[in-house]
């Protein structure tokens, strides 16, 4: 069982919603579509589901062309941002509704509804009505309805975005476990890199309707093909600065330069983009080679266990991800240290040419 998108495009009034997508989704896989708002995540899902017709290309299901087939004939479930339930039906009837439509015998319906409800921990709520439930419970009900019918393709369109972040954390962990044993294709759209990392599986990076990169989540994370992929798949986005490699050193601006490290010495001289993850920058020099930069604090964002510090100077703007609470006033001067060994290097066309050596994985 597999779902294949072949040269799939969708253009509406001259605007590319999806451009030339070639992707394969295998049964039993969990696939995350990661991209900003309007990246084409929803459009792609609608094409997979058959809710929209592609302008070009084909959708193949087990090798069979289903491009023109209507949604009703495919076995698909979809879960949306909004909590969509039938308000006049009890939670039990909400979950049972797709099975009733399929004319399943009542004892079988009952068994499945209870099984799914207990999986999503809403069994005590079966007699209640959607509007009497909290947001998290409503979304669990909607998910139960989608999961109960053994769909071959389940589409999640940012299902957790309207929930408190604590609930998000819990449901995300549950989802991961739920799909471990299932044989269906799950596709999950999100704008948050952290959610993609937490969910695992395969990640497809989308930007302005195009597939930027696709592969197992850690491969994509560790070896982003270009600067765009690097920034999309990092929350906060990877810091990217311009620099020039000469025979002896690498220069970022008149104050910021460093002699070539063993790894960087392999690069032919020229202009490059250097990327560093916010979590790799430190406020104290480390053990290896560091690039020192003088910055000013723009804002400290504190999540509790960590701080996202936005810093800037006349040339650069960067974000640091620091453990613990670091409160600094806006405008306070600050020295930051970039470990040379953690630099990603992209060429003049912003394509990846070097990943930090410690991590194995395909560079280039």
């Amino acid at each position: 069982m597999s779902l294949m998108l072949e040269n799939l495009s969708r253009t509406v009034d001259g605007v590319d919603y999806v451009r030339d997508a070639n992707l394969t989704f295998e049964a039993g896989s969990f696939n995350v579509l990661l991209g900003r708002t309007l990246a084409g995540k929803t459009s792609m899902m609608r094409l997979m589901a058959g809710l929209d017709k592609p302008t070009e290309g084909r959708v193949l299901y087990n090798g069979e062309d289903v491009t023109g087939q209507s949604v009703q004939r495919r076995n698909i479930s979809m879960i949306y941002q909004q909590f969509i339930n039938y308000p006049t039906l009890s939670v039990y009837e909400n979950i049972a509704s797709p099975l009733r439509l399929a004319k399943m015998p009542p004892p079988e319906i009952d068994r499945r509804v209870r099984e799914t409800a207990s999986m999503l921990q809403i069994e005590p709520l079966l007699k209640r009505y959607p509007l009497e439930l909290s947001g998290g419970q409503q979304q669990r009900t909607a998910m139960a309805r989608a999961l109960v019918k053994d769909a071959t393709l389940i589409l999640f369109d940012e299902p957790l975005v309207n929930l408190d972040y604590k609930l998000r954390e819990e449901l995300r962990a549950e989802l991961r476990d739920l799909f471990r044993e299932r044989q269906c294709i799950a596709v999950y759209a999100t704008t948050e890199a952290n959610e993609a990392l937490a969910l695992g599986g395969t990640t497809t990076l989308l930007h302005e309707g195009r597939v930027v990169q696709n592969g197992p989540v850690m491969d994509v994370y560790r070896a982003p093909v270009n600067t765009l992929a690097a920034q999309l798949f990092s929350e906060p986005p990877m810091n990217i600065i311009r620099g020039r490699v000469t025979d002896t050193e690498v220069t970022f601006d008149e104050h910021t330069h460093h002699e070539l490290t063993q790894e960087l010495a392999k690069l032919p001289p020229g202009d490059y983009w250097f990327g560093i993850r916010p979590s790799h920058i430190t406020l104290a020099p480390g053990v290896g080679d560091d690039l020192e930069m003088s910055m000013e604090v723009a804002l400290s964002e504190i999540s509790g266990s960590e701080t996202f510090m936005h810093v800037e100077n006349s040339h650069f703007e960067m974000v640091l991800q620091l453990m613990g609470v670091h409160q600094h006033h806006t405008g306070a001067p600050l020295k930051i240290y970039l470990p040379m060994s953690k630099l990603f290097v992209f060429d003049g066309n912003e394509q990846l040419v070097h990943t930090p050596s410690r991590i194995s994985g395909g560079a280039g």
């Binding site: 509406v12 058959g50 929209d52 017709k53 087939q69 209507s70």
Partner: protein, 288 residues
């Protein structure tokens, strides 16, 4: 958004096509047909071109009734729209009081037109009618069957009584649709009652007011039964409005050609003015 095309859906629209054809197009074509012919009897029709239209447009009786009609519709809008908004603003927002109010306000709308005419015919009489008697009693000389002004005021009052509730109900639903946050924000911004009305309620009532104005204009412009029952168009022809003139022409004098031409002009006027209202209101505060 283009879906999977399935042209069979067009069959579902067919009944509506047929309905529109029978209810509007075919009768209208009959009228158009009459308006360009002179008919003496079955099979004796002669083509007269625009003759009837010319005649109708220069007919003084019709002109007078057209002016009267405009005056009436204008007065109806000027009174009923502000009054309706006012009533809606005063109605309780929710609860049992709100429901009671809704029912009370809606009652006049449920009464058939000819009954409304009859009610007022009796209600406004100076001898046995409560209203007419009371007015005379407080020293004002009032007789709607004899005095032009009194007749006009009575017709107007009857229409206000009958139809202001419609405007009020429309506005009420419009007001209910305004999120509470706007009132809260306004209160925090220390807005006066008037400012709340002018900058929050009125702009958000715009779409229902368009409907209210259009409905009230069209309805009042075609008013027939109530004044016919109440005053019979008198005294003299002071409350004879367009549709009554038309009916007299078509049925009373059996002047079908003129009546048809007149009907078409009538129809075009309603259409034109409705369109004018609509565009004027919708374009009123478009960004330059």
């Amino acid at each position: 958004m283009d879906k999977i095309p399935d042209n069979r859906a067009w069959w579902l629209v067919l009944p509506v096509f047929l309905l529109v054809a029978f209810s509007a197009l075919i009768p209208l074509m009959t009228v158009v047909n009459y308006s360009v012919q002179d008919i003496f009897g079955p099979g004796q029709a002669y083509y007269v071109g625009t003759e009837w239209f010319k005649e109708v447009l220069t007919d003084e009786r019709l002109q007078a009734s057209l002016i009267r009609q405009f005056a009436f519709s204008g007065a109806v809008l000027l009174i009923q729209i502000p009054l309706g908004i006012g009533v809606a603003l005063m109605m309780p927002k929710s609860g049992i009081k709100g429901s009671l109010c809704l029912i009370l306000v809606a009652i006049p709308l449920l009464i058939p037109w000819n009954v409304v005419g009859t009610i007022w015919q009796i209600f406004a009489r100076g001898d046995i009618g409560l209203f007419g008697w009371a007015i005379n009693e407080i020293g004002i000389d009032y007789n709607y069957t004899g005095d032009t002004v009194d007749a006009w005021l009575t017709v107007l009052l009857m229409d206000v009584w009958h139809w202001t509730p419609l405007v009020a109900l429309l506005c009420y639903s419009g007001l209910r649709a305004i999120p509470e946050a706007f009132y809260q924000a306004a209160e925090i911004d220390r807005a006066s009652k008037w400012a709340v009305f002018r900058y929050i309620q009125l702009p958000r009532l715009k779409s229902v007011l368009i409907i209210a104005v259009l409905l009230r204009f069209m309805d009042s412009f075609m008013i027939y039964i109530e004044p016919f029952v109440l005053t019979g168009g008198g005294p003299g022809s002071s409350t004879t409005f367009l549709s009554q003139t038309l009916t007299t022409m078509a049925i009373g004098q059996f002047d079908l050609g003129r009546a048809a031409a007149f009907s078409l002009i009538y129809f075009l006027i309603v259409l034109l003015i409705s369109w004018l209202f609509f565009t004027a209101i919708t374009h009123a505060d478009k960004e330059k």
